[in-house]
Symmetry: C2
């Protein structure tokens, strides 16, 4: 089993959905990612929190064996995002983004993090993603995410990162925005032409499309969930399940393991959306995963 290094946000989120609302609940890409990935593999987190960050939220990751040596606590407040979802829950409307301590974040890797085999650059500024890559020695497999904000204002830097990664995980709207393509199917090969060998386009309630230069498309639906409470963190959870699964394999990623990793990402994300914040995700056990995986296999079985 190999270690996964993740760099991303640790945040407090205030969220409103048709099912209710929460104030300053635990969030952030690194939290969702780590909780999902740590079910399968060892995880190392790089990030920053403020003085208001709750001890219980350190403990939550610590109890899952996550190495927090790269987590710095600095003066000021933790990153805060407020958003709301309406109707079909497919898109969040951002109400407030308070970067706080994240504004001056400079990811510095503890020495023992530098030999990590798997690296996931969650959705942070492309310069910071590059800064992390410069510090790791010889990663076997690097993945990244991004978002509309960076595509609009930092596209050149983003394209530099794309050249240095093996895989991109990106949502459908952002894949179209990045490439100018009309749909996910035409966007995927345009993304791999930018550098990575593989791209996973996350399609929310519709599942995912994996595209590899070598083998083309692998597309499957999401686990059917009748009642979605809060979709926040689903994409980061997908990435966590995906990397957690990959890093737990004995070989370096193959087409076959990438496919299974997508399914594991999907299964993990299907838990996250069943409650606010990390409430459902943090309770998931390996046996829950196996039960849901069996259900999923039935849904797609001919």
């Amino acid at each position: 089993m190999s270690e996964i290094l993740v760099v991303g946000s640790l945040a407090y989120d205030s969220i409103e959905t048709p099912s209710g609302k929460v104030e300053r609940a635990l969030g952030g890409s690194a939290n969702y990612f780590s909780l999902a990935a740590s079910l399968f593999s060892k995880v190392r987190v790089v990030g920053v929190v403020g003085e208001d960050y709750d001890q219980n939220h350190y403990d939550l990751l610590h109890a899952r064996g996550v190495d927090l040596a790269g987590l710095s606590r600095v003066e000021g407040k933790t990153f805060h995002w407020a958003g709301s979802y309406e109707g079909d829950l497919n898109e969040a409307k951002t109400l407030k983004t308070e970067l706080n301590v994240f504004e001056h974040f400079n990811p510095n890797l503890p020495e023992h993090f530098k030999d990590s085999s798997f690296v996931f650059l969650a959705n942070i500024a492309p310069e910071l993603q590059l800064q992390v890559l410069e510090q790791v020695k010889e990663p076997k497999f690097v993945g990244m995410d991004t978002m509309n904000f960076w595509i609009s204002i930092k596209k050149d830097k983003l394209i530099e990162v794309l050249k240095k990664v093996n895989l991109v995980l990106i949502n459908e709207g952002e894949a179209k925005m990045l490439t100018g393509a009309e749909n996910a199917i035409s966007a995927a090969p345009m993304i791999t032409e930018m550098g990575p060998d593989a791209v996973v386009i996350k399609r929310g309630e519709y599942g995912f499309a994996l595209y590899t230069k070598a083998e083309g498309f692998f597309i499957l639906p999401a686990m059917p969930i009748p009642k979605v409470i809060d979709p926040t963190g689903a994409g980061d959870t997908f990435a966590g399940g995906f990397f957690g699964y990959l890093a737990a394999q004995k070989t370096i990623p193959t087409i076959s393991s990438l496919k299974h990793a997508c399914i594991m990402g999907s299964i993990m994300a299907s838990h996250t959306i069943q409650d606010f914040s990390v409430t459902a995700l943090s309770k998931v056990t390996m046996s829950d995963v196996e039960v849901r995986l069996a259900g999923y296999r039935k849904v797609i079985a001919l």
Copy 2:
């Protein structure tokens, strides 16, 4: 092999999409359905056209062995629909609906149509769907489609039809509208509670979700198509491929044949969207279907 009776529209469509436009091109649910279904099974059409209906358009179905004895030609003009699609092509904006000869349509079945084993009630007024059902003797399997217009203004009649059919094919937006559900996953079991044993929710570029009372969900993606020219008729083509496949089987529909029928529907629809009107669909051969089916199996194969 059993005969399929279809009742629906034969129309001329004026359509604009980001790829171009066509004026008064052949359309209508019965045309798309028949062209798709006739690749697999014998089809009998019930419908009405006006004096302007082109002989070539009779010939097109006739050449595919479709029985046109139930097609009446009356004074006046053929049903005309004008619509446009923008951006992601997921929704048509209706610009004009001229019912013309369709306004006084009363489906009367030729005697030899009454013993049809398979019946598909395409998207027409629920009263007309009932009128057809009253005339068929002992169909083995009846399916129906509908649309937002009938859900808004004829919901009671529609619910009467739902009680008399084995299966509903419906698009995702309409499934939510019919049930008030938030998503397709919660809508599906609500629809089967209204009567049918099975429902297929058509999700456009995202594929389909089959739900049966007996076995729950079967969900798969659509065939990936990088360039969609015109999505008009995709749903009716899906229904045609679906029924064509089912009626060609030796047994009455089973869960397994319903699943394969969904895939065949999907494969047929993936051709329709590659050109305007029935241009691509009318050229599809069995060998094209086999090639695409092999490609599709690869896309979903673990």
